[in-house]
């Protein structure tokens, strides 16, 4: 029993949109970051599903790289959130808005 690849795409698209929704609605920097991670994982689902579909491993390997880069991104992001907390006494991303226009 195999699941048609379209369903994986739908799943990943749903996941992507969930992540996007989080990005747009969450003020907490950590939630923002998590939402981005969800979006990245949506891409991973696509990659792995299509890797299976096409019968080559390229997509799976790329998914590993994506995970690694996502981790690195989180590391940098946490660092930035840390200094954000120190400077603004909070991690609400809408607070730092001194630079505009």
């Amino acid at each position: 029993m195999t699941v048609a690849v379209e369903y994986y795409v739908l799943l990943s698209a749903a996941l992507f949109c969930i992540g996007l929704f989080g990005v747009l609605t969450r003020k907490n920097a950590l939630m923002f970051l998590m939402s981005v991670e969800i979006m990245l994982n949506a891409a991973n689902i696509n990659l792995i599903a299509f890797s299976f579909y096409h019968g080559n491993l390229t997509g799976q390997v790329f998914a590993l790289f994506t995970m690694a880069l996502a981790a690195a991104e989180v590391a940098i992001g946490l660092g930035i959130i840390l200094v954000l907390y120190r400077n603004f006494e909070g991690i609400d991303v809408t607070v730092p808005a001194a630079m505009r226009w």
Binding site: L20, V23, L24, T25, R26, K27, V93, T94, P96, A97, A98, M99, R100, W101
Partner: protein, 670 residues
């Protein structure tokens, strides 16, 4: 042993050196720097003569010396071109410059003028510019020195800059010639852009390129090749008309008489004014490609010859008369060149250089005699007081009037002859010929009016009764030039050659490259390019005799009328009989007035209107646009709210907009 050509740069460099030296230490030099100038110009003369002899030996020199800017398409350089034409001109220029320097000893030094180092320095610079212009091997270099010549004449005309008239005359000369030079500059740029070269001679010259373009039937800048060549030629002609004081840009020249008379001699005989005509001769091959341009040259020349001669008739100031005669004579040269008489034009240029220098220096001598009085009505009877001045002046006058066998006759006659034979084939040119012919009468009249009023009759003023003596420095140049004015015609006795069959048209052979010439720059090649047909009344000899008789007759008629009217002890101002015509003539046909009117009453209001338009409409539009832009800017930057989630939202919205547009457009969702 260096050859003449290796030393060629020194021909121009010597006067330049004199300029530098006199400018720096002139005040402490003997005669305030006059000797430096004399030595330098003498050196130039010797070298020029040597170069002339070398050319006569069959060699020519066309050498690029220094490349000062090079691009992929075109390179600009300084170079020297010494061919029969430029060698001849070098001699003329350096000779006249030398004589003017010598004369200045008597005219300027002995009169105790101040500012002499400046004077001699400027003379040196002037000579340098002209010599460098003469042997320039490309049009851009020619243009640069052309401009320098204009600058020097500005400086020299305004030598007595403390008198308002002198400084305004200087400004006028500068501005009017500059007006023409704009067109020249555009022409230079146009030629460079079209042909990618500015050289006068050689395989890579713009003349050759233009010839190929025409024969190849190319289209240049949207025009046929010949039309474009005509346009370029006419643009360059703008500079010529300004410099050579041709109608309608001649108005500066009479005013330029405000300068020292020596300067007038130099300007009129050999440098500034000659530069224009020389330029036409220099790039004659280019004009030869365009019959239209040549015809325009011919008509401008013929008209100017008549027009200026008619004004010369009513002038009272001796220098003014000469000034208008200069304009008129350059008109002849243009006429000659315009009708294909390359030799005739150059021949007249040479003769004119000698006799006009003579006449101006003679006038200078008269002015010395008259204690700086220039009104001819206050002169009279100087014949006996200053015989040297009188006889040399008379020789010059006879040459100017074109009385056989003086030099002017031969060249003027040849100009008219060339116009006639062309006119017989193409009748339109007969009009130009007729104008030239009538001008002969006027020339004879005003010349001898001047001679008689100045030298004959009874002295009409205290100064004329007790003239100031003139020295050897004055007499020597007069004598040299007097001799030349008498005999210079020998070099091209075309009528006699035609009658007798003797090979005595030396100048024609010279310019035709019999002794050596740069390929493509010879008389017969020009002739082939033009392809003018000519025809004769009866035979060639008959036509020639008829023409000569006609012009000679008119010259005698003019001179005779002057004789009857003015060669009397107490001449009267017969000009009153001219009635209203006198007023028109006396006011120079209102040329100045209409040009001032053009400038003040037409151009100025137009400019004001344009300015108002600019300030109200254009600025309004610009200001409107900028305030709209700035307003737009104010709105646009509000997009950047500073809140990062808004950015994310806008980013996603922007992306979705793209997705919807392209998705629906590309049918991705079906």
């Amino acid at each position: 042993m260096a050859t003449a050509f290796e030393l060629a740069p020194a021909i121009a460099a010597l006067p330049l050196a004199a300029f530098v030296v006199v400018l720096l230490v002139g005040d402490s030099m003997p005669k305030k720097g006059a000797f430096a100038g004399i030595i330098a110009t003498a050196g130039s003369l010797v070298l020029s003569l040597w170069a002339l002899a070398t050319v006569a030996g069959g060699e020519v020199y066309n050498q690029e010396l220094y490349e000062w800017a090079a691009g992929e398409e075109i390179a600009f350089h300084f170079g020297i071109l010494i061919d029969p034409l430029s060698a001849l001109m070098l001699v003329i220029v350096s000779l006249v410059a030398l004589l003017v320097h010598v004369f200045s000893l008597g005219y300027m030094n002995e009169e105790g003028e101040t500012g002499l180092p400046r004077y001699y320095a400027e003379l040196g610079l002037f000579t340098f510019s002209m010599l460098a212009f003469v042997y320039a091997d490309n049009l851009l270099m020619a243009f640069m020195f052309f401009e320098l010549v204009g600058l020097c004449s500005y400086l020299l005309i305004g030598f007595w800059f403390r008198t308002p008239s002198a400084s305004s005359a200087a400004k006028k000369a500068f501005l009017v010639t500059r007006f023409g030079d704009y067109f020249f500059l555009i022409g230079v740029v146009g030629i460079a852009a079209t042909f990618g070269t500015l050289s006068f001679a050689g395989e890579s010259s713009f003349v050759v390129a233009a010839e190929e373009a025409i024969s190849g039937g190319e289209t240049l800048f949207g025009f046929g090749a010949e039309t474009w060549v005509t346009i370029l030629g006419l643009l360059v002609l703008g500079g010529v008309i300004g410099k050579s004081a041709q109608f309608p840009l001649h108005t500066w020249l009479p005013d330029a008489m405000e300068g020292p008379t020596t300067v007038s001699a130099l300007i009129h005989a050999a440098t500034m004014v000659a530069a224009g005509v020389y330029l036409v001769a220099r790039m004659y091959g280019f004009y030869a490609l365009s019959p239209t341009a040549l015809a325009i040259i011919a008509f401008v020349g013929g008209f100017t010859a008549l027009f200026a001669a008619s004004m010369g008739v009513v002038k009272d100031d001796i220098k003014q008369v000469l000034a208008y005669s200069t304009i008129s004579q350059y008109g002849y040269m243009m006429l000659g060149l315009g009708v294909g008489g390359y030799v005739a034009g150059v021949f007249h240029l040479m003769n004119h250089a000698f006799f006009k220098a003579l006449l101006f220096l003679g006038a200078g001598a008269v002015i010395i005699l008259m204690h700086h009085e220039q009104d001819m009505w206050k002169m009279g009877g100087l014949k006996d007081q200053a015989p040297v001045a009188y006889y040399t002046f008379l020789a010059g006058a006879l040459a100017l009037a074109g009385i056989v066998p003086f030099s002017g006759f031969w060249s003027k006659d040849e100009v008219l002859y060339d116009a006639l034979i062309l006119g017989l084939e193409e009748p339109i040119f007969l009009i130009a010929y007729a104008m030239g012919l009538i001008a002969v009468f006027f020339t004879g009249f005003y010349t001898f009016r001047m001679v008689f009023l100045t030298f004959h009759g009874e002295p009409r003023s205290e100064a004329a009764r007790d003239p100031h003596p003139i020295g050897a420095a004055v007499k020597l140049p007069l004598i040299v030039l007097g001799v030349l004015a008498v005999v210079a015609g020998i070099v091209n006795l075309a009528p006699i050659a035609k009658l007798t069959g003797a090979e005595i048209v030396f100048l024609e052979h010279w310019l035709d490259g019999e002794y050596g010439a740069v390929e493509g720059l010879t008389y017969h090649e020009y002739h082939e390019l033009m392809g003018h047909e000519t025809s004769y009344i009866g035979s060639e000899t008959l036509t020639m005799l008829l023409g000569a008789a006609l012009s000679l007759g008119l010259a005698f008629a003019g001179a005779g009328l002057a004789w009857t009217l003015y060669n009397v002890p107490e001449p009267k101002e017969h000009t009153r009989r001219l009635g209203r015509a006198r007023e028109v003539l006396g006011n120079n046909y209102y040329q100045d007035e209409y040009q001032v009117w053009l400038a003040r009453d037409l151009t100025l209001p137009f400019s004001r209107t344009a300015d108002r338009f600019d300030q109200s409409v254009i600025d309004g539009v610009v200001n409107g646009v900028s305030s709209v832009s700035l307003f737009g800017s104010g709105r646009m930057k509000r997009l950047q709210t500073g809140v990062v989630t808004n950015y994310a939202a806008l980013l996603v919205l922007g992306f979705l907009a793209l997705l919807v547009i392209f998705g629906i457009n590309g049918g991705w969702f079906v």
